[in-house]
Amino acid sequence: MGARVNTAAAGTANWVDERTSIGGFVKFFARKLFPDHWSFMLGEIALYSFVVLLLSGVFLTAFFVPSMDIVTYEGPLATMQGVEMSKAFESTLHMSFEVPGGLLMRQIHHWSALLFTAAIVTHMARVFFTGAFRKPRELNWLVGFTLMILSLAAGFSGYSLPDDVLSGNGLRIIEGVTRSIPIVGEYISYWIFGGEFPGEILIPRLFTMHILLVPGLILVLVALHLFLVFLHKHTQYPGGGRTDKNVVGLPLFPVYTAKAGGFFFVVFGIIALVAAIFTINPVWNYGPYDPSPVSAGTQPDWYILFVDGALRLMPGWLFDVIPMEWEIWGYTLSLNLLIPALIMPGLFFGFVALYPWIESWATGDRGEKHVLDRPRNAPVRTGIGVALITFYVILVMEGSNDIIANLFHLSLNDLTYFFRIGIFVLPVLAFWITRRLCIGLQRKDRELVLHGKETGRIVRHEHGEYQEVHEPLTDHERWVLVSYDDISPLEIEPEYNDRGVRRKGYRWDRFKQRLSRIYFEKRISPVTPEELEAAKHEHH
């Protein structure tokens, strides 16, 4: 039996290979080495939840009707009996209550959307904090960044499809934000909604965007993203024998194929479990869209919440004196919308997208990096990352301010005042604390390398001295702690040459030196072999 199966498999493989020459590719891919670490699977979570999104999405498209035509509900739900609603909303209720397994599929789809975006952000954070975006991977960082933006577009367009009160309120905010763009905003809004909000064509348009345009782009970019990972080879954490010139790991086949294949089912299983237990987006609670009601607890899904938070944070009057809404030659300029909803995300995302270039430019480090940084060994970058997260989390919390106020019996107004100050103060504080912590950890590493681990064993020498026995690190342990770049701040030529003539371009150099100093002024250098040797002599 086994022999027959093998012959059949070999025969099939040979048949395919003779017609496609695919054998070479399979051999190449199967032998491709990958380093092993749990944090390298975060991107995989995003990929697999995207696969789950595609699978469940195909099911949902079979029942969803993307139409804003008005019908009267006559289904089984008592609280909607005889209520007028769009076909989009009606078909959502239909698939939830009358299609077997429909509600579970909807919940699987929505939970995997939340997971998809969360996994992307976590993966991005891993790449950021370990410096995996550095040369030669800057382009792939940009591809990944674009995927993150596309996941937001996919999420928001899908969230709006059921045409319920909650998502309709979200669209109303989008409309307001679009209109705040000076001069062209009104036209863009009319163009998107096909006239006045809400119009009658938005749901079909969002549907096309949600099931065709955005997922198509995501698929193409995912392919490019993975291709670039193959091309650049995977980064690896510092460790025994690992350098910028090699990859230490296991071949893709059989270990990783089995692991990755199995992991897909772990992800799918957990999504299905969560979707079976917890309600998500109960549109039957919110009711069909109607522009007048806005209920308490109206928030977008978590990945858009930071924009909502920025809108809630923004005062209409600055210090109660300077109005944030101006009328200039008959045009209204709404800074109170423009700044939080467009300028802030633009700057935030722009900084994130361009960070690889910003860092390499500021540090002047142009080398190829294939060994990852431990976050502590890049204190400024780690500090910047934590500051960005702090900034983001404050906006998310302000976006949930009514929920926080209600659950913890706080005053909504006080929370907003606190966050208004906190948005400027806390990220700076977070940066400073994180950098200090990183430097502290680096000092601890130095101490460990030089003097070894404390064993807790006290010995008394013949001459009466007591000493604690320190156990030296193994070579592998030491490798991890000392293998990082030691870059000193940029040195520049003096402002005046020996004849007292002022040098051109000095100011620019000074600026670059300042940036470089931010990164490298306070640094703990890795232990050198000479220092290690000296420390050994000191002990014995």
């Binding site: 749990w38 199995g262 237990i277 009601p293 806005v294 209920s295 978590w302 919440l305 019996h409």
Partner: protein
Amino acid sequence: MNALARHRYHRAAPVVLVLLLLALVTGVAAAVSNASSAEAATTATADDAAEGQKLFAANCASCHGLDATGTEGVAPSLVGVGAAAVDFQVGTGRMPMQSSGPQAIAKRPQFTAEEISQLAAYVASLGAGPAIPTEEQVDPELGDPANGMELFRTNCAMCHGSVGGGGALTQGKYAPNLWETTPTHIYEAMLTGPQSMPVFNDANIDPEGKRDIIAYLKAQDEGSPGGLRLGTIGPVAEGMWGWLVALGLIIASTVWIGARSS
């Protein structure tokens, strides 16, 4: 005596004792709760009003004044608020107020049903005001939950949330969760507008409409068809659970998978 001593060590003795104890506890509890939920007298008599006045003088007058005309800046006048307001405020434990704060907090009622009806009778005797609704007026079975949904959405959801889960107001005030509130109290709240709540009189939402709203709220008792409802807080709770539970479990499994290799 010997027999009892022998039986004390019987194998079944602990079980029997525990059962007896449980019966005793539940019996007492049932008696107590029956006593406290005794039906209020539906028709108020002059005696009730007189008894109510005594209760009022002892428990409410320090703020509302002996003649119930209120104290400037402390407590409002109660002339004309009607029996419905008293039944709601005292019946949900909001009055007497435990401490001053952004708003009166619901707690265990401090008076028996009979005392509440006496207080209500007294306050009703001060001036005409809304009366306590009848059983039929608040019966969720007779209401139309779909119409209730539409009325709730336009009139109540902005503060109480889409299904009455509650929500925050300004300066620490809040609109409470409505799922534990009795139909009568919901009706009275609409009629009298307690705390920050506006009054929804019969011209605004007619009595049938009020009953429809009660029917919509009672339809929430059945729970969510989608499973646990995470407090019906909406996308914030969903996002938090997505991060903590879904991503948390999956990352835990990546660590597990990663740990099983080398």
